[in-house]
Symmetry: C2
């Protein structure tokens, strides 16, 4: 007797229970975009590393301007990148550019517009007569932004482009992150031909393979396409053996209970432990999940239904959250929202159904609108969907005032 | 006399006026994710390409079951991928699997559970006694989903993973798309050292370079990092000449009006036509934009301020929309929203100011919360921001009931 089909949340928790962040690797900053930090990053330096001029002007001793005017001897000129060589003492100043380090002795910058050059040559002089200046004026003090030894980014964070800049600012050239999971994709079914090949009688193009590779890439994984596996145990064994070299093997088709659904049998032969088979949802019931343990690591194996929409729904519900977890996102979850329908909708079905829908942004808040859909083979309608709206099991009319759970779809 | 600084919207429209979608290229489906179609895609085939069984069972002539029962001779077995060879005539049936093509003569499928095998061997027979069956039952007719010659995806569409599946389904192996723009990134300033190198006195790590490369990648461009250009006209000329080989050259630093701000002068020497210099915003006033025309193509040149936050703000306001346009998105626009503050906020400033802020999702709708920010050098605070909130010029208190314009920041 077949065990009863699991509910979606039970199945997801079994999947996530087997998905652990991949062992960390070291990467250079330019390669870190979108990856998740495996450890806290501590700044190696103060930022700024020195007291820094924020304006073009003169570095002065503020006390010299207590009366509001001064004539000061100009010692040197400092541009960004220069190391100061002269100490500013009372009665002197240094010409300074934005970004240059403040010379010793100086404690304020007077902006260029408030000064007048009164002598050049061997003994240049500057006059200032725009009033007193406060200590620290137009200076960014060393360590104001980040102190050496301070934690700037925490483990678990997905690195953004700004984070890449911040890592550079704190003199970090390499970080430890969880790598992108390697995901092998294999579409099974003797009826399939590669896209662009001429389909013979009874044959159809393999649409799940390209779609799954795209979904994997878009979810932050590294897809590798194993192509098409015909319904032949020996061929499936050979291709699936290759697939088990990846962190994840995603199969489509062959997971029902028909005579030619060899996938679960071949997986058993390969020693892949079955965790679950069949989930109570529509479309997507014949979903299979298992784990292959080899040496120090494991491969997660997902057997998705062959119908393209069922395949997509199972990817969104189970594979995407698992890929997030492998990539280091501990709280990897479904992107669920509670939304109301735009119009009443009659739903019929004996299983919880994920129905393609479009988000409608309205003044009173977002609403959800189920699309005219022709069932689990209808990829074309799903291509226009922003989300899947979940109708519970049972047939009835849903009104626009009932909140429904909506699963947002990933976008490129 | 310097011309007056432009408003942000004037500057953006000058930038977008120079940005045209890059000439289309042909790519294979697996390489098309995230790219924008340059032409409509027309299906080369019907989908499904034949009348297809949606369930495992028997292909029958529906009229045979008019009385609700029948005993039929089984002609053959068809699995997915098989070409039918026997015509189903009254009194006969063909065993058929999900996905297999319906044989000629048959017009319905009776599911396996509703049948009983009553003879095997040379003359196999099946009995059906679960009532009449309607014509077309459990069959997906040829061309129901897509008809040959029908437009399935329109020019201007950014291709998703589901679209990749749909292209495969319609026997399209190659599409014409706008390529990702090549973007050269050059950080200028004698004070800069590469991240990870030891900074000498007066030196700081180059944080803009890595940040800009990350922003470009995240915006769908292909960054190439030209490294650091010291404040030296000959070195800048050499590096910027290389940068002009790309579709876009993004510079940071050297665009102010100080003695060592060589960038506009070197760009003039290279024949780059200045379109604008200085925009009325904070942070980011010394923004420079121009166009280099060479042979059949042009390079857009962006001179961003050297302060990291000013650099980021100008990227988001001007470079990101331009990259979208080059990549084929005609309506490439800023991601602006109207939101209310979470708390009152005192703003001071004589220019329109883009202030880092966090989105707060609340029951009554999203609110925006300005962050404690230390000015245009403070990348650390921007790393926590979801958005920039725009305060108009002038100093006053903003209450939580006033809608403000918010620019959403891109996320990896």
């Amino acid at each position: 007797m077949k065990p009863p089909a699991l509910e979606v949340d039970q199945a997801l928790s079994l999947v996530l229970g087997r998905a652990e962040p991949l062992p960390p690797i070291a990467v250079q900053i330019p390669d870190a975009l979108g990856l998740v930090l495996a450890e806290d990053v501590v700044s190696r330096v103060d930022s700024p590393p020195f007291d820094k001029a924020l304006m073009d002007g003169y570095a002065v001793v503020a006390a010299d301007l207590a009366e509001g005017t001064a004539e000061l001897r100009v010692l040197a000129e400092l541009t960004a990148g220069d190391a100061p060589r002269h100490r500013v003492v009372p009665g002197t100043a240094t010409r300074i550019m934005t970004g240059a380090p403040l010379p010793d002795g100086a404690d304020a910058v007077v902006v260029l517009e408030d000064t007048e050059c009164i002598a050049t040559g061997q003994r240049p002089m500057v006059r200032m007569s725009h009033g007193p200046v406060s200590v620290g004026r137009h200076i960014l003090r060393r360590g104001t932004l980040v102190r050496q030894g301070e934690t700037v980014l925490r483990a678990g964070r997905r690195l953004s482009a700004v984070d890449q800049g911040l890592l550079a600012e704190t003199a970090t050239s390499e970080v430890r992150v969880h790598p992108r999971p390697h995901v092998a994709v294999l579409a099974t079914g003797s009826e399939l031909v590669a896209p662009g090949e001429i389909a013979g009688p009874g044959q159809i193009p393999n649409s799940n393979g390209p779609m799954l590779c795209g979904l994997v890439a878009q979810a932050g994984g590294q897809p590798s396409d194993l192509g098409i596996g015909r319904d032949d145990p020996a061929e499936l064994l050979r291709l699936m053996t290759r697939g088990l070299e990846s962190d994840v093997l995603v199969l489509s088709g062959g997971v029902s209970t028909g005579d030619h659904d060899y996938v679960p049998r071949v997986l058993a032969e390969l020693g892949v432990e079955q965790v679950l088979h069949r989930v109570r949802l529509k479309p997507g019931k014949p979903f299979w999940f298992g784990v292959a343990a080899h040496r120090a690591r494991r491969t997660l194996v997902f057997g998705l239904p062959g119908n393209p929409v069922s395949c997509l729904v199972c990817f969104e519900l189970f594979v995407r959250p698992a890929l997030g977890r492998l990539a280091g996102v501990w709280n990897s979850q479904l992107r669920r929202r509670e939304l109301r329908l735009a119009e009443p909708f009659d739903h019929r079905g004996d299983r919880p159904t994920y129905y393609p829908a479009r988000l409608r942004q309205e003044a009173g808040g977002d609403r959800i609108e189920p699309l005219a859909w022709q069932g689990s083979a209808d990829l074309r309608t799903i291509a226009e969907a922003d989300a899947l709206v979940l109708f519970p099991a049972g047939s009835r009319r849903y009104g626009p005032d009932e909140p429904l759970t909506v699963l947002m779809l990933g976008r490129p």
